[in-house]
C-alpha cells in the first residue's frame, strides 16, 4: 500500500474555512425561524432546486480537486517514506486514465486518429504523410472502423448505468416516505424536489456515460500537447469556483467592517471610509488588477525558494488574483452596507440601545450586523457568476491565473488560435463554453431566487 502525505495549499485552507463557515451558517439558520423563512421560499422554487443540484455537482468535483496530497515515491535509506514533490488531488487520482492517456497533439472528440497529418514510417521502408493512430483514444478497438458500434454500445451501457443508479438512489431516498413513492410523486408540494430529481437523473446519466466512455476515448478531444480536454475542463471547475467564492470571502471582512462603521459612526470615520472607496473605485479596475498581478510576480521572484512546486506557485497566484479582484470589488458592497446601516441606526431599537449606554461594539454586533447579513448573502451569490466570467477576460489580457493552471479562461484564450485552424479545432472552446455556461446559468438562476426570497427591494440597486 502506497502511503501519502496530505498537503493543504493556501486556497485549500480557505476553501475548508469557507465550508466550515457555510456549515456553521446553516446550523445557525436551522435554529432560528426568522432566518429559515427565506430559505423555505428558496426551497419552494423549482428553478432553484434544479440549479442547486447542478451547483452541488460542481462543488463536489471542486472539493475532490481540493483534497491535495503527495503520493509516496519510495523509501529513503532510513526507511522513512519519501514523497513525490508533485502535488496531486483526489480528482487526479480518480481521473488517472485521463491524465495518463496523453496523445501527441490535437485529436477530435472520440477520434481514433490524430487531427494533424504526420510523416509515418512504413514498416517496409518509405514514408507516408497521414493521420497517425492515437496512442490511447480508441486503442482497445482492433479495427478503427468498429468505432461507431462501440460508441453506441458503450453509450447505451452508460445511460443504463446512470438510470439504474438513479432508480436505486430514489428507492433509497423514498424508502421512509409515508405513502411510498406514489404519494411523493403526486404531492404538489414536492414539485421542486421532483425537478431536482429529474436534474439528478440527467447528471447521473452523464456520469454513466463518462464512466463507460472517458476511459477509452477522449470524449472532448485533446489539446495542442495532447492533454485530454475533458480532464482540463474538470480541473477548471475548481479554479472557477475558487475565483467565484474566495474573492468574496477575502473581501468580506473589510467590506463589512468598513461599511457598517461608516454608516454607524458617520462623521470623520464616514468621510475617511468614503474617501477610501471612492478613490479605489475611481482607478480603472483593469489597471489596478494589472499592476497588482505584476507586483505579485515580483514578490514571487524575490522569494523563489518558498514556492518550489509548480502547484504552489500557481496556487498562490490564484489566491492573489482572488485578493486583487476582491480589492477592486469590495467597494460596491461597502457602499450598500453603509447605506443600509445609515437607515438601521435611525431605528428605534438601535437608538434605544444607544440611549441605554450599550457599547458601540455590542450594538454593532448585536443589532446592526445581523440585520445587514442578508445583503451580504445576496451580493455574494450575485457576484459569483460575474467573477467566473471575469476570470476568462483577465486571462485574455494575460493578467489572469497562472498559465499552468487549468481554467476556462486559459482554455478560451488558447482556443482563439485554434479557431483560425482549418479544419477548425472547436472542442476546447466548446468544452469551456459548455462547462462555464452550465455553472454560470445555474448560479444566475439560483441567485435570482435567493435575491427574491431575501430582499426583493434590492433588485433595483444591484
Amino acid at each position: 500500500m502506497m502511503g501519502f502525505q496530505p498537503v493543504i495549499l493556501a486556497t485549500d485552507a480557505l476553501i475548508y474555512l469557507l465550508v466550515i463557515l457555510a456549515l456553521a451558517f446553516a446550523w445557525y439558520t436551522r435554529r432560528h425561524a426568522h432566518l429559515r423563512a427565506p430559505w423555505r421560499r428558496v426551497a419552494a422554487s423549482r428553478t432553484a432546486m434544479g440549479a442547486l443540484v447542478v451547483i452541488a455537482v460542481y462543488v463536489v468535483i471542486g472539493l475532490l480537486d481540493t483534497l491535495h496530497f503527495r503520493p509516496a515515491s519510495g523509501e529513503d535509506a532510513q526507511g522513512h517514506a519519501r514523497y513525490a514533490s508533485e502535488v496531486q488531488s483526489v480528482l487526479d487520482l480518480l481521473a488517472t486514465p485521463l491524465v495518463a492517456h496523453r496523445e501527441k497533439t490535437y485529436s477530435a472528440p472520440f477520434a481514433t486518429h490524430l487531427y494533424t497529418r504526420e510523416t509515418i514510417e512504413l514498416p517496409g521502408g518509405g514514408q507516408v504523410r497521414d493521420f497517425p493512430r492515437l496512442k490511447w483514444g480508441g486503442a482497445h478497438l482492433g479495427d478503427p472502423a468498429r468505432r461507431a458500434g462501440d460508441i453506441a454500445w458503450r453509450s447505451a451501457a452508460g445511460v443504463a448505468l446512470g438510470a439504474a443508479a438513479w432508480l436505486l438512489w430514489m428507492a433509497l431516498a423514498l424508502r421512509r416516505h409515508p405513502g411510498g413513492w406514489r404519494a411523493w410523486w403526486a404531492d404538489p408540494g414536492r414539485a421542486p424536489m421532483r425537478t431536482a430529481a429529474w436534474v439528478w437523473l440527467v447528471v447521473l446519466i452523464l456520469a454513466g456515460l463518462v464512466l463507460t466512455l472517458a476511459g477509452v476515448y477522449h470524449i472532448l478531444g485533446t489539446d495542442k500537447v495532447g492533454e485530454d480536454v475533458f480532464y482540463q475542463s474538470l480541473k477548471s471547475i475548481r479554479t472557477g469556483l475558487v475565483i467565484g467564492t474566495l474573492t468574496t470571502l477575502v473581501m468580506l471582512p473589510a467590506a463589512i467592517l468598513l461599511g457598517i462603521m461608516a454608516g454607524y459612526f458617520r462623521g470623520w470615520v464616514d468621510d475617511v471610509i468614503q474617501y477610501l472607496y471612492t478613490t479605489l473605485s475611481s482607478v480603472p479596475g483593469v489597471l489596478l488588477i494589472a499592476a497588482a498581478v505584476l507586483m505579485m510576480q515580483i514578490y514571487m521572484n524575490n522569494h523563489q525558494d518558498e514556492f518550489n512546486s509548480l502547484t504552489e506557485r500557481a496556487d498562490l497566484r490564484l489566491l492573489f488574483l482572488c485578493v486583487i479582484l476582491g480589492v477592486t470589488s469590495w467597494t460596491s458592497l461597502c457602499r450598500l452596507l453603509r447605506g443600509e446601516t445609515l437607515k438601521l441606526r435611525q431605528l428605534e431599537y438601535v437608538q434605544a440601545a444607544q440611549a441605554f449606554g450599550v457599547g458601540h461594539f455590542t450594538t454593532l454586533m448585536r443589532h446592526i450586523l445581523p440585520n445587514v447579513m442578508h445583503i451580504v448573502l445576496i451580493v455574494v451569490v450575485l457576484d459569483f457568476s460575474g467573477l467566473v466570467l471575469a476570470e476568462a477576460v483577465l486571462s485574455y489580457i494575460n493578467i489572469g491565473v497562472d498559465p499552468n493552471t487549468n481554467s476556462w479562461g486559459n482554455m478560451i484564450n488558447s482556443a482563439r488560435l485554434e479557431l483560425a485552424r482549418e479544419p477548425v479545432v472547436w472542442w476546447s472552446l466548446a468544452a469551456a463554453f459548455v462547462f462555464m455556461f452550465v455553472l454560470v446559468l445555474a448560479a444566475n438562476l439560483f441567485a435570482d431566487v435567493v435575491r427574491d426570497a431575501f430582499d426583493p427591494r434590492l433588485r433595483e440597486r444591484s
Binding site: 474617501y275 482607478v283 494589472a290 499592476a291 507586483m295 515580483i298 457568476s385 433588485r459 433595483e460
Partner: protein
Amino acid sequence: MMAYIVRRLLYAIPILIGVNLLTFVLFFVVNSPDDMARMHLGVKRVTDAAIQQWKHERGYDKPLVWNEQAEGAGHLTDTIFFDKSLRLFAFDFGQSDSGRNIGHDISQRMWPSLAIAVPVMLVGLLVNISFSLLLAFFRGTYLDFWGVVLCVAMMSISGLFYIIGGQVLLGKLLNLFPISGYDTGPHAWKFLVLPVVIGVVSAIGAGSRWYRTLFLEEINKDFVRSARAKGLSEQRVLFVHVLRNALIPILTGVVVILPSLFMGSLLLESFFGVPGLGSYTIDAINRQDFAIVRAMVFLGAVLYILGLLLTDISYTIADPRVRLE
C-alpha cells in the same frame, strides 16, 4: 445647487491626489525607471550610460515621493510624483515616454472610441427597452418566462464568446463585414457594424432583465393600477405611464456611464483593431509607457467623478423633491 457642485468639485481634488499616489506607487513598484528605459531603448546593445541618459531626459532620475537631498519644501516638490502629477491637474499631459504628445493623441483617439461606444449605448438602449417592454407586456405568460430564461442564458455567456463567434460567423463565413480594422471618413460605418452588433447583443441579457424589473415595479404601483382600472388600453398604460415613470431610473443609469464612454471598450477595441482610447491604454501598459498610463488613469478618475456628479444632478432634475445637501 452651484455651491453644491463647487463643493463636490473641490472634494474631487483629494480623491484625484489619492488616485495619483496609488498609480505612481503601483507603477513604480512594478517597473523601476531602469526597466522603463530598457524597455524603451530596445533589446539589442543597451548600455548603462544610455539608460542614465534616458532617465535624466524624462526626469525619472529623481526620488519618487520624498527627496532626502533637497531642502525645505524641496523634500516633497523635487520628486517624480510632484513633478508629474502637478501637471496632470492642469490637464497638461505632456509627452509620452516615447516622445508623443499625449493630449493630441487622446483628442485623436477619443473619436473611434466614441464611434463605437455611443452607438452601442443608443442601439442597446433601444433594443433592451423594446425587448423588456415586450416581456413586461406578456408578463406571467410562457413568453415572459422563456424570455427571462433567454436573458439569463445570454448573460451566462462570456463576452469573449460573443466577439469570437461574431467575427467568425459574420465576418468570415458570411462575408458580410470586414473582420476587423477601422477607417475614418465615409468608410467608417462598414467597420463599426460588427463591433456595435456584438456590443449590443452581448449586453441584451443583463440590460433587458434589469429594465424588465424596472417596468414590473412601475406596473405594480397604484397609479398604474388605477389607470388600468379606468379602462385605458394595455399599450397606453405601458407606453404612457410605465415607460415615462421608468425613464427616470433609466436616464440616471445612462448618465452615470456617459463620461466613461470616452474611455472606450477595452475588449472590443483590441479585438477589432480600433484605434481608440481603450486600446491606447492597453498598449501603454504593454509598452510600459508610464506617461500615458498615468494620464489615462487620471482621466478615467476625473470622468468617473464627473459621472457621479452628473447622476446627482440628474436626480434633482428628474425628481424635484430630491435636494442636494
